[in-house]
Subunit: 341 residues, 2 copies
DNA sequence: TTGAAAGCGCTAACAT
DNA sequence: ATGTTAGCGCTTTCAA
């Protein structure tokens, strides 16, 4: 049987409540008693039972992260892991733990969230991006459970969220290609119902339109955040009479697939097709050629989001929508004038 | 205030214990009552308070994963994420949650484990590989906390663990290079105190020795599981009078660094230097050239380890040491006779 | 400054 | 088949 507050109390010759006060750093406790109690705690290797503590305090010092269904299927992958690093760094600093919970489809995901919210297992929740008409958000608001969205809600303007300016990011990326002299620029997209996808699409369209460049439906392909998705997209997009000579790609992993596809089809990059993608994961600089990518500050996203839920829990005033700055990291894959080294 | 068992009891016109029994699917409860209670639970949106439940049952339906310090520093990365996928898949199936906790150094890591073990927050623990004389293992045994090691303990033979046969894996990888006609084979290693490193080193040495090939100290470089580590290793290893013409590399990410380093130094792969590495992460097939890698069944490792802790918790008899099979995935980077396509 | 007592939401004997 | 009661380990009034 684990050592409890009573054991400590008995050995220190005080009451359980005194021990409790020592733990809580209650002001009105004599230094003397405090020290003695601490010694005993040390001696006995006492650690407070979190369950009992949580039961009375209604607080768990735990933040839940709800994995989007596709995470189970490989998905965002490196991006995701980097995000978790940021989350974990901040939570650990603040003395919070991270509870990861999934669900293998939208239905299960909602059930998981309901359970976490109502069972009192977590003090707050991190949502890993949202899709159109998300019932999860509706639920959490009703339950008054603090949560932060990584991404943006399409339904509610005022949901606490940490995001990039994805419109601007895609605009910048596309502009970069235009500045390289590209005129036929396509877009390899992600799932259409994600806000992120929509925003990047919007930025792409805006840049194209502003520059007076042609926009062709056939140059835009929708897919998943998977390598295969990018790979397959090339078969269709490049088989058109006038294929694009440059591509903006929704995600680095997809870009890897694109790279593979283009190479197999005999296109040289960037000479025949220039590419730019998003997230700037570590491996973008290792492919042949290295890939130009928009660094979205992944670690920062996770770090900031965690900070935000913690603030909400502590009832600190927060800005409802935080934007993490992005920056284009230019590498070989997008440069038109390139001598073959 | 959240809805409790009492609220349900009152509205259903029964006692709290009856409600409790309904939740637990107690056999001796009338179908009638059971249904009525369930209806009320549904109506009220009742979810049992996990803290209260845990307090009395001394069980949390949560498994903790302790992150190795370097995980915070990028490290194993893709390998790690794939592992977590496996863990999560199994735990979710079993209705368990995953608690992730870190520490930024060995000291903090030990404290985290102590806290988790003693505070009753988890029913079991997954340890992400062990180093020589690991105090964590000692502690957990003393506390009688169920845990499974991913990897192998250097101190204890009988620690429940899931691992690969890393000696054999490295032996196979090295043999493959030898079969390709390689005679001067080096080894880009990881942190020497990890069991995994030692095992792979042993397999490499065994293959070399058996084949009567030379073993040179200068051909073995110790490093971290980082891209930079592989990159830097090339500067030293290739500047020797007689540099190796083939390399066995401890991890794919390190191999990426090696690839980068070799390419910059003007070596062609595999013509000038052939390479083989471990883990077979998705991107090994995307580099130029694609990298031959030993698939260690990463997802399986995580899945099996979780299954094992769960069994231990349920007091089911387990095999103390499970070996996940590996297999060499041959790609261009290790093939000697290669026409330039 | 400290102790006694009640109670957080639930389960599990022990009754009936 | 169901209700009553005690208690899990802790915090928190209320007294002293």
């Amino acid at each position: 049987m684990a050592v409890t507050i009573k054991d400590v109390a008995k050995l220190a010759g005080v009451s359980p409540s005194t021990v409790s006060r020592v733990i809580a750093n209650h002001p009105r406790i004599s230094v003397e008693t405090s020290n003695r109690v601490r010694e005993v705690m040390e001696e006995l290797g006492y650690h407070p039972n979190m369950m009992a503590k949580s039961l009375v305090s209604k607080t768990t010092r735990t933040i839940g992260v709800v994995l989007p269904r596709p995470a189970e299927e490989l998905l965002l992958n490196f991006f995701f892991y980097e995000l978790i690093r940021g989350v974990l760094a901040q939570l650990t600093r603040a003395g919070y733990d991270l509870l990861m919970a999934g669900g293998s489809n939208e239905q299960e995901e909602l059930e998981t969230v309901t359970r976490l919210a109502r069972s009192g297992r977590v003090d707050g929740l991190l949502l890993l991006y949202s899709r159109a008409s998300d019932p999860v958000i509706h639920l959490l608001r009703k339950e008054k459970m603090p949560f932060v969205l990584l991404g943006r809600s399409l339904d509610y303007e005022d949901v606490p969220s940490v995001d990039n300016d994805n419109v601007q990011a895609a605009y910048d990326a596309t502009k970069h290609l235009i500045a390289q002299g590209q005129r036929r620029i396509g877009f390899v997209s992600g799932p259409a119902k994600l806000a992120m996808t929509q925003d990047r699409m919007a930025g792409y369209t805006k840049a194209i339109t502003e520059a007076g460049l042609p926009f062709k439906d056939g140059w835009v392909v929708e897919g998943e955040f998977l390598l295969e998705s990018g790979y397959r997209a090339m078969a269709s997009i490049m088989s058109q009479p006038e294929p694009p000579t440059a591509l903006v790609i929704i995600d680095d992993v997809v870009a890897f697939g694109v790279l593979k596809g283009l190479t197999e089809l005999g296109y040289r990059i960037p000479q025949d097709v220039a590419i730019v993608s998003f997230n700037n994961i570590a491996l973008t600089e290792l492919t042949m050629p290295p890939i130009t990518s928009v660094d979205v500050g992944t670690y920062q996203l996770g770090y900031t989001a965690s900070q935000m839920v913690l603030r909400m829990i502590q009832q600190v005033e927060i800005t409802n929508r935080q934007i993490i700055p992005h920056r284009l990291v230019v590498r070989e894959s997008s440069l038109r004038t390139l001598s073959l080294t």
